[in-house]
Amino acid sequence: MSGVSVVTRDPIVPGDVLARVGAAEDGAVVLFLGTVRNHNEGAAVTGMTYDAYDEMATKVLTEIAGEAAERLGTDRVAVVHRVGALEIGDVSVAIAASSPHRAEAFDAARYVIEEIKKRLPVWKKEHYVEAESRWLDGQAPPVGTDAEAPRD
């Protein structure tokens, strides 16, 4: 993988993530940025604290990027997820993908963000102007079934 999959406490620099993808044979690059917005379900938001199971999150992110690379047909996928205390406008996640044709680059970037929402072990606590901070409702991650249990 020419790209990178990492969970970090440092601010994300979109240009650095973009620079991880792209190649002479590519005609399309897609960059997705998730940013902290100032509202949610009608409430004014002042910031967001991201908590993560760091070691596992890096593994899951690498897995997701690998799956995206398969869909993409190139290994040019990069994804960085930030954790810690973020302010409005801060980038929480950056995903870049490049490929010879555009459909695959769009598809790969979209796949990575959708899978992050489904299974990255990350949680966020939203801070409000007028109410107590709260952990946002999430999605139940896909737990292995007995048939595919990791041990016998």
Binding site: G34, Y50, D51, A52, Y53, E55, M56, A57, K59, H81, S92, V93, I113, I116, K117, K118, R119, L120, P121, V122, W123, K124, K125, W135, L136, D137, G138, Q139, A140, P141, P142, V143, G144, T145, D146, A149, P150, R151
Partner: protein, 80 residues
Amino acid sequence: MRVRTLLFATYRELAGTDELELELPGGATAGDLVERLRARPGLDRLPTEPALAVNQVYAPLSTPLSDGDEIAVLPPVAGG
């Protein structure tokens, strides 16, 4: 056997800690660990079937545990 339990987000707040070391009988499963956790103060509000990761891989409640395992109890995830 001795296993390490990690708690995150709301579950950490219920437990008042992010990590517990527990002694379990041989042959215990991840489900047995959850029952033990739910017997502790605050953690009675843990779901009966929370999502789990054993050694950083999502795993079902039926997963048999081994000495030294790291079991994470995971609230519904909300990344991105």
